[in-house]
């Protein structure tokens, strides 16, 4: 369903057209429908850039991305992106933020309302629909961002460190929420994080990237994950330790 072939990225300096050194180098992996993928790597290794490429917001310098057998050349309706800082607009209320994607697609008002209210209910935001993002807690804001992304009924959800600014308990609750949503919305997701626990809890396929330039150093199969209880298992600890050693080995 998603195929990433030899993606290499160099940023172009707009002033003098010079190319930066490789930010991403020969990234290749593929995902099946409904796969849960996590990309982990240190800060600055190109995780956000990779998501921008998958979302069609940035073209790779070399290589290509195919989604549903079609080459990605721009943003697509079946792909939704949640940004690092949630990307909500402070001048729009919770409802208006959640509705934005559908509004831009000129979906009629009743359908918008039905889809958005259903999701906001589901995400425990129904009592806050008239509030502005600054009036919400971090966890609530992130849930609004999830609502906005899912309102479009995407097949693929891309998330850029969506929970990294949250306290530990809120973060774990949202990770649980994500798993639940994955279960009943038939999603494929790619989540980017620098947290080892998050990667092991949420990723059935974990792509480990090296520091600059970002290269795939390991594609880790973590198929025992996928339930809430996994967090308390021996497997979970063992895999966290394994991943930690792997990442530390790279940093040295």
């Amino acid at each position: 369903m998603i195929e990433i072939n030899d993606v290499t990225l160099r940023y172009k300096n707009i002033k003098n057209n010079n190319l930066s050194p490789n930010v991403l180098e020969d990234i290749s992996f593929s995902l099946k429908p409904r796969e849960r993928c996590v990309v982990i790597g240190p800060s600055g290794c190109g995780k956000s850039s990779l998501l921008y490429i998958l979302a069609g917001l940035l073209s790779p310098t070399k290589g290509s991305v195919y989604i549903n057998q079609k080459k990605v050349t721009g943003p697509r309706d079946e792909v939704a992106l949640i940004l690092q800082d949630h990307g909500l607009f402070p001048w729009k209320t919770v409802y208006d933020n959640a509705e934005l994607g559908l509004l831009l697609k000129k979906v009629d008002k009743e359908t918008r309302q039905r889809k958005v209210l259903e999701l906001l209910k589901r995400l425990d935001l129904i009592d806050h629909i008239d509030k502005y993002p600054t009036q919400l807690s971090g966890g609530q804001r992130q849930r609004v961002a999830i609502a906005r992304a899912l309102a479009q009924r995407p097949q693929i959800l891309l998330m850029d460190e969506p929970f990294s600014a949250l306290d530990a308990l809120t973060r774990e609750r949202l990770q649980d929420t994500l798993l639940e949503l994955w279960l009943d919305k038939e999603l494929t997701y790619i989540l980017v994080t620098h947290s080892i626990e998050e990667a092991v809890f949420l990723g059935e396929k974990i792509i480990v990237l090296s520091p600059q330039p970002g290269k795939v150093i390991k594609i880790f199969d973590n198929s025992t994950s996928g339930s809430r209880l996994y967090r308390k298992t021996q497997d979970f600890y063992a895999n966290c330790n394994y991943l930690r050693d792997l990442l530390e080995g790279e940093v040295k």
Partner: protein
């Protein structure tokens, strides 16, 4: 709301007390006591002699602000988001921006006569440049993350302007309008004292030349009221369209 009312009343009261003391100490006819000035003001107000001048001045300044806004905001926002265009237009703006546009008044009068037109044109010109520059800078400062957020939703260019650029920039543009308002009123006053036969500027200068000091102060008080009213209009617009800024 109550707090605001109290603090405004206190501010006005202390201004009036200072004015009163100054007038007693100076004891000259050109600085009457506030009481005398306001008596004169209400007399003229009820007599209707001020109404016309006030309305004409209000009309001139509101039309100018509106024109400057309607012309300046779209241009500024597009320049801010379009580097190629900005590269071409920015030098023109930078040459014209610091130029004191008041000096064009005689030319405008020769071109457009003595009516409303040259006054509106002059004020519009001055406010226009402020608005263009402010709108452009605001549009340039739009966070990359916000742009990516809306781009990922596959918008049209118009939708990006409507949902992101315009609401992001509006509060900053209104602030610049508020700051320019002082200059705009000063220029209005100047334009109305120059080859003019109506408006508050004309009224004030005429009263001064006739040594009718209470009339002159009535004009000055009305001019201050004019400024307050336009501030109120801008505040109202901000309250209505930028609710999110007040939380």
């Amino acid at each position: 709301m109550m707090k605001k009312l109290v603090s405004y009343s206190l501010a006005i009261a202390s201004l009036i007390i200072c004015w009163h003391l100054a007038s007693i100490l100076l004891a000259k006819p050109f600085l009457p006591t506030p009481f005398a000035a306001f008596t004169g003001f209400f007399g003229l107000l009820l007599g209707g002699q001020l109404t016309n001048h006030f309305l004409i001045s209000l009309y001139r300044i509101l039309v100018s602000l509106l024109l400057a806004f309607l012309l300046g905001v779209p241009l500024g926002l597009v320049l801010g988001r379009n580097q190629a265009l900005d590269k071409f237009v920015a030098p023109i703006i930078y040459v014209l921006y610091p130029l004191p546009k008041v000096v064009f008044l005689p030319i405008l009068v020769v071109l457009m006569g003595l009516g409303n037109l040259p006054k509106i044109a002059l004020i519009t010109l001055i406010v226009f440049f402020q608005v263009v520059v402010k709108a452009r800078d605001a549009a340039k400062a739009i966070p990359f993350q916000s742009l990516q957020a809306i781009r990922s939703l596959n918008p049209t260019t118009w939708q990006i302007y409507y949902h992101l650029i315009w609401p992001f920039c509006l509060p900053k543009i209104l602030t610049s309008l508020r700051i320019t308002l002082g200059t705009a009123i000063a220029v209005l006053f100047f334009a109305e004292t120059f080859a003019s036969s109506d408006g508050l500027g004309y009224f004030i200068l005429d009263a001064m030349e006739r040594r009718e000091y209470s009339e002159m102060y009535a004009g000055i008080i009305t001019m201050a009221g004019l400024g307050l009213i336009i501030y109120g209009v801008i505040d109202f617009i901000e309250h209505r369209f930028c609710k999110w800024q007040r939380i």
